[in-house]
Amino acid sequence: MNKVGAVLVVGAGIGGSQVSLDLAESGYKVYLVEKSTSIGGVMAQLDKTFPTNDCAMCIISPKLVETGRHHNIDLIINADIREVSGDAGNFTIKLTKRALHVNQEKCTGCGVCGQECPIEAIDTFNEGLSMCKATSVKYPQAVPLVYSINLEKCIGCGICYGVCKAKAVEYDQTDREIEINIGAVILAPGFDEFEPDSIKEYGYSKYRNVVTSIEFERILSASGPFAGKVLRLSDGDIPRKIAFLQCIGSRDMKRGQPYCSSVCCMYTAKEAVIAKEHFDVINPTIFCMDVRAYGKDFDKYIERAKDEYGVRYIKNRIASILEIPETKDLKISYETEDGKIVEEIFNMLVLSVGLNPPKDAKKIADVFNINLNEYNFCETSSFNPIQTSRPGIFVCGAFQGPKDIPETVTQASAAAGAVNVLLSEGKNTLITKKDLPEEIDVRGQPPRIGVFICHCGINIGGYVDVPAVTEYASSLPNVVMADRNLYTCSADTQTIIKEKIKEYNLNRVIVASCTPRTHEPLFQETIREAGLNRYLFQMTNIRDQCSWVHMHEPENATEKAKDLVRMSVNKARRIFPLERMTLDVIKKVLVIGGGITGMVAALDFAKQGYETYLIEKKNELGGISREIYSTLEGGNVQEYLDDLITKVKSQKNLNLYTSTHIEAIDGYVGNFHTTIKHGEIKIPVEFDHGVVIVATGANEYLPTEYQYGKDPRIIRQSELEEKIYKSPNELHNIKSIVMIQCVGSRNEEHPYCSKMCCAEAIKNALKIKELNPEINITILFRDIRTYGFKEKYYQKARQVGVLFIQFNENQEPELKIENGNLNIIVKKPDVGDISIKADLLALSVGIVSSRDEKEELAMQLKVPLNDDNFFLEAHVKLRPVDFATEGVFVAGLAHAPKPIEDCISQAKATVSRACTILSKDKIEAEGKIARIDPTRCTGCGLCVLNCAYNAIELQEDRRFGTIAVINEALCKGCGACSGNCRCSAIDILGFTGEQIFAMIMGRE
């Protein structure tokens, strides 16, 4: 059966966008279907993101623009899937695109219709905190920037039709049925927030100053309704004291959902920190049960929140909330750690609401015929977290279970990786490539500049004297024509621009209109279609940064527009064609590390026919998972591992080397060359490859605490697991087992959480209880971090009688051996010291990574390690498995401690990320990159230090001695090297010194 090289992606949040970009770049046609009117999902609503406090909009917006413009992504907004038929590799999908009543092709997003509309509606993007119009766009940076009419509110007055100069309003538009043929489906519909109305005690929607965390996110946002001022809703004052209540609708069997929503602890800490950053008078208090900061660098963030921002944590659920009628403050009563009930007054209350399955989860399950789990999230297995119950249909993001952005992005790429394996024979069959004319050689020609000035309906023309600017432009040197258009971006104007290029023999084109951030690629495409090099284009921003911001001073705005046009002309006279260097790609893969992560990745590459080299330091495969017998959810790890090893050993295209040491890795993306020595007699092997996957794993911590190693009754959790599965008889005579969590974790030496130890302890406890319910098990913990659906097992453990006792960070349990008995003493402020006698003491130790082991590889690949000696990815949020160095990827424990299912996700994610390179015969490098003048370079090496992408190297040159050399494949053109060069030897193409000086010097 033929496999169709097209994919349907359902939901265009950050997950859906990532899948689409990955697949479109890997040679698949993508239909991205979104039910709302623009892409971006919940992430676009967020102010900042943890744990880096990155501005969410800054990092998501370029990604959305890229998704919206990609020629192999067919973005279908405002649409619902109706019917799915067929099987993996060949599905037929019927969907309905609901009418927007605005022509998507014609709408320029200028917004005049919204301004003139007399009907106000609740702005759902701002969570109802502000109003928008019946004709509106979801948010100002929305992609696609298309207005639509809210039919529920519209009274049909017809004003928008009249004011739209682009004639984009079409009242008679009807819903449209679309049928598409695809090979695979990826579901990324995200989640819905828990609605706290149902729990009356919290006073939500009854008390004005009680808001949800997502509302608070909009309150914090600089582009939100309060412009980043933290104000309470009753009277617009800044709240001095804000209380955050966690686990609203989560871990709440009776009133909400029993599972943990995974992200609330962190986003709450972030919201508290950001609020404090906005106004120092704000004192945030967080009420929580456990602090579940289990991700990479999360614990450090919590510590900073406490120490630097003074965020107060109270580990208790509150007893009651009452509004004080006069002040609208909120009186909260709660139990303190030493057991007293106290009352405290807060000015504002934020409910950290949990993540629910999407409201239409059942409908999605019906349409796609997939199973949901007991909580109505998508059902998957622990060894394949992206596979739904129906072959050919994959899932990613919060629909699979509550998760944060990096995990969503990872899963998105993982799902794309799975599609790559499934549809590899259909790859590159349905993507389109444009036939472009030969580029006109403009070398040696004097500049002949054409300037197109846009009225943008009335958006520019209403404030800037466009005819005067046009006349002025035509008077400037080398300008051979200047014209003005109602909408320069409209399809018919593109034809006009092409005609003018021919008519006037233009070799430089300037468009003075809106912002290059959204429109430059469009015009570049136009001039390229007319035979001009893309880089012979300049854009002047006279709308977003001129007419719109100087509406009351038309003369000054006109003067500014003239200046800006002149500056652009000055630059345009000095621009020249740039070439995007193309590089051949060696379609082979190096995977470093033969644990589960490495094997999963290697298999998925080899299955697609890519020659794969899997190398392992030790003499056997399996890594750390050799010591794991079961997952918390009951998956049989050893069986899975054996199966994997068998597959790896028999897989075609997969070359396995054990007992291997890497001698050298040279080269760059697409063209690496590696030398290894393997086996006992160290046989040297050399090979070329295009990408590298780092899956080198990490180790279990060997404790020095609690007299470990001195007494056979004191063992690690993994040793206990071995006993359970290998010699359960040893447990017969045991009456009491004590487990201590966080041994060697979350301390000064290892200031991070290992994510899996809580699950380990509970898994072992449950298994022991199953073997012998008479054994008393006590787990001593700081926070129980059974995030997501793992919470179920925590509840189960408590039900079967496992005793959980919390201890304080500063008061770790003590071990006393008296008369040969193990006594563990826990200090509790409310009840005093507790002493527990144990026959067996199990230490839950974390995962550690040693610098000695990692440093050599880090140097060879020129990739960074973080303070904890784990590899540091390119971007914590949006590029979780990429390195800044292109063509090198990271997965598994090498990246951070995590359970097996996350490792598998990351492994598959690296497959997809790598396929964006491997699927191409040649890759194009950025045209606007750094260039070094060897006659000026002194070889001081400063630029090498400044380059974040390792794109510069010092090399010996026959004529000039030691000089810096740019690797064009790696350079991103940021210019950090250029600005610091002591001898002006480095210039940035597209932003050369000469060009910028020309702009500076053309002052008037």
Binding site: C58, I59, P62, Q545, N980, F997, E1004
Partner: protein, 148 residues
């Protein structure tokens, strides 16, 4: 004095300020100010650069030499840089440059370095207002007294 300059001196002086904005955060922030129609003084002329790391100290010196009355450099917030660390490099560079310029007798009010994120349209407008005020407080740039 020519007639033209006489005429000029009688009108209210409008400082001209050159603004170097990084493409990913500050330029986007300036766009957002536009989309939200937040009004600010029309004295700035924007030069878009990929990253504040791209800005050569000479750009600033030349701008002053060529008679721009003030400079505004705005990049991403620390940690937000699209190019990982460009803004840190720029920050160090400008700290030194500012000291040097002040040492040379150039009023620090002419040199405005800041950061604006893509979500801070409001902040961008505020910064422009503040910059214009700063530059106005020290008057026209006569440092090099060059004729144009």
């Amino acid at each position: 004095m020519t007639d033209k300059s006489k005429e000029k001196s009688t009108e209210e002086w409008k400082p001209k300020i050159i603004a170097f904005l990084c493409n990913w955060c500050s330029y986007a922030g300036a766009d957002l100010a536009g989309v939200s129609r937040i009004q600010y003084p029309p004295n700035i002329r924007v030069v878009r650069v990929p990253c504040t790391g791209r800005i050569n100290p000479f750009f600033i010196i030349k701008s002053l030499a060529y008679g721009w009355d003030g400079i505004l450099v705005s990049g991403c917030h620390p940690g937000d840089c699209h190019y990982i660390s460009g803004n840190y490099i720029a920050r160090r560079r400008f700290a030194i440059l500012r000291d040097l310029m002040t040492f040379l007798g150039i009023e620090p009010e002419r040199l405005n370095f800041t950061w604006v994120s893509a979500a801070e349209g409001e902040r961008f407008a505020k910064i422009v207002r503040k910059t214009v005020e700063n530059v106005k407080s020290v008057g026209p740039n006569k440092i090099f007294n060059k004729k144009w």
